[in-house]
């Protein structure tokens, strides 16, 4: 094994890794480029503010889907935020409890459930009429619930980390002053963790904002602006999915526009939270 052979072998394998990196960058570049070019052509103020128009009529927009997405995310936050907060606090400050271990493992496992199955679950339990189901029918509420189930493990995890980052000496200082433990946790620990907790919430929202699979048979989709929580509701990802399957040029065009809007919204949230964490905690982007 001459040194020359070994040196060339090293170069060969490192080169192969570099090649792998380049090959993987091609689809990423292609995707982003197509998205910006095709989507950019479509986006206009009218496209963003107008509702659905029948095929053939000009001037249709995606405002109903944007509104639907925001409503769905709102419902999901209302359900997932309190539960996730409690769970995060429990995991970070309930250390001696024997249930923390199992709860943490189950949360991890829960975050791995495919989104489509969450949709089927919510359909069977809430949407379907008959059986022991609640029988709400396809509705905004059911869609929000499905999204909440995907958000919950993510948000609980980031909350736990946010609370854990507050050193125990802070707790001890509070306790030494004679404060009851619940007040120490709620007023001092949680209050100091609020920025990081909110960052986690936004990251969880960014993660579920692009989900279409859990909404297919819960929120179902709609061409109207969202109305009552018990009516079906549209959303950006689902509109994209439906339009992309249509044979009409106009709808496919709109699908690209919707895709660009969706990705831009999600990336904006992620970049802003990232920049905020960096600014606040400096250097490495904190623990987010």
């Amino acid at each position: 094994m001459s040194p020359v052979y070994r040196r060339w072998k090293s170069r060969l394998f490192l080169g192969l890794m570099g090649l792998a990196l380049l090959v993987c960058l091609v689809p990423l570049a292609s995707l982003l480029l197509t998205l910006v070019v095709k989507g950019g052509h479509v986006i206009s103020l009218r496209f963003l503010t107008a509702g659905w128009q029948p095929v053939g009529e000009r001037g249709g927009g995606i405002a109903h889907a944007i509104a639907g997405s925001l409503y769905l995310l709102g419902v999901a936050t209302l359900i997932a935020a309190p539960l996730g907060l409690a769970k995060g606090l429990f995991l970070a400050r309930g250390d001696r409890h024997w249930l923390t271990g199992p709860v943490r493992v189950l949360l991890d496992v829960m975050s791995g459930i495919p989104a489509i199955i969450v949709g089927v679950f919510v359909y069977t339990l809430v949407v379907r009429r008959g059986g022991f189901s609640l029988g709400t029918g396809f509705s905004l509420l059911a869609g929000g619930l499905a999204l909440a189930m995907i958000m919950l493990p993510i948000f609980a995890r980031t909350t736990e980390e946010a609370v854990r980052a507050i050193p125990p000496s802070v707790d001890e200082a509070g306790l030494a002053l004679g404060l009851p433990r619940r007040r120490v946790v709620l007023w001092i620990v949680l209050r100091s963790a609020v920025p990081a907790v909110l960052t986690g919430l936004f990251l969880a929202l960014a993660r579920v904002a692009g989900e279409a699979a859990p909404l297919l048979f819960t929120a179902f989709g709609s061409n109207a602006f969202p109305g009552s929580p018990l009516e079906p509701a549209g959303s950006l990802p689902q509109l994209l999915f439906e339009y992309a399957r249509q044979p009409f040029e106009e709808l496919v065009r709109q699908a690209w526009g919707a895709a660009l809007v969706l990705v831009a919204m999600i990336l904006a949230v992620r970049l802003l939270t990232h920049a905020y964490t960096r600014w606040r905690y400096g250097g490495h982007g904190g623990h987010a």
């Binding site: 890794m17 792998a20 990196l21 990423l28 292609s30 709860v103 496992v109 791995g112 009851p180 619940r182």
Partner: protein, 329 residues
């Protein structure tokens, strides 16, 4: 702040004045933690409920078809002689996920190694950022790109190039369909890549620098250092990342549904339209013609749930030690 102080004073005087105050305080704490515990238990309960609800919904199908549901390829919604078998979808799911992993795993581990061991540290941030973007893009957007960019490329460029010299092998043989298994495999590979890269990167980063220094000190080349000192201790992290990616690929729905062509059959050819469990559920659930049909789809969901759950438990178990001792930045 002021309120805190006032409250604090109140509690303190309570504590000093009588022991009843202290016990009330302890009681309040107990209630508070009981509420936290209760709320925390909801998620595990939901998880148990998952199995119960899905099994209940699937019961008509389980009772009707039994084990033959897993092995039969008949998919007959005709109300007179309804029969459902999930075999082609199970096979489609396994093939697409396995092939995607076979493409993404070496690439992902290679990229993670390159980023941490070779590239200058200035570029590391950029690489992480790109991985982040890849992981952030929603499944439907990948699907849209797959339908209008990837699928035309596969059927226009890749398929003729492969079919001409290799067409005699059934894998590359006919039927040639515009949306097919290969599109699904490629798009899945792209989608699971960020998972593999980021978990592998964590594993590689938790390898102590002294291992590398020892290898280099013995005169190893950079590649030998990677083989001797970096990969072996990181191996369980690599495997965990790959299994995590496998779980994702098995359950991935939207992008696959859009590009796989919904063929509903088993074909040896990569260029034939196929189906996976998840894509079948996504496509047919909303317009299910009968209760038995719905039950069959729910049974498929149950199946996928059990499989992805086991895969994830294994992956988490493998990643755990690496994460615990891991040197976080």
């Amino acid at each position: 702040m002021l309120m805190t102080t006032v409250q604090l004073d109140g509690d303190q005087t309570e504590n000093l004045s009588c022991s009843a105050g202290a016990s009330r305080q302890a009681f309040g704490d107990r209630v508070f933690f009981a509420v936290l515990t209760g709320a925390s238990l909801i998620a595990p309960l939901i998880l148990l409920l998952f199995v119960a609800v899905l099994a209940y919904g699937a019961w008509p199908s389980i009772r009707e078809f039994g084990l033959s549901f897993l092995t039969s390829s008949v998919w007959e919604p005709n109300p007179e002689r309804e029969r459902y078998g999930a075999f082609p979808f199970i096979v489609g799911t396994l093939i697409s996920a396995t092939l995607a992993l076979a493409l993404a795993a070496p690439a992902g581990i290679g990229i993670a190694t390159l980023v941490n061991e070779v590239l200058p540290s200035r570029l590391r941030g950029t690489a992480r950022f790109l991985i982040e973007i890849l992981a952030t893009i929603p499944s439907v957007v990948y699907g849209l790109w797959g339908v209008f960019v990837l699928a035309p490329w596969v059927s226009g460029t890749l398929q003729p190039a492969l079919a001409k010299p290799l067409g005699f092998i059934p894998v590359f043989g006919p039927p040639y369909e515009p949306r097919n298994m290969l599109c699904a495999v490629l798009i899945l590979a792209i989608m699971v890549l960020p998972i593999i890269v980021s978990v592998s990167l964590d594993a590689i980063r938790s390898v102590p620098a002294s291992y590398r220094e020892a290898a280099l000190g013995l005169g190893a080349t950079r590649w030998e250092m990677v083989r001797i000192a970096v990969w072996p201790p990181a191996r369980s992290g690599f495997i965990g990342g790959c299994i995590l990616a496998l779980g994702r690929a098995l359950g991935e729905t939207m992008a696959v549904t859009m590009v796989i062509g919904n063929g509903r059959r088993i074909s040896a050819s990569l260029f034939a339209a196929s189906d996976t469990v998840a894509s079948t559920i996504a496509n047919q659930f909303a317009e299910a013609p009968s209760d038995l049909f719905t039950a069959a789809l729910i049974e498929m969901a149950l199946l996928l749930f059990v499989v992805t759950l086991s895969v994830n438990v294994i992956a988490r178990w493998l990643i755990r030690p690496a994460a615990r001792t891991g040197a976080r930045p």
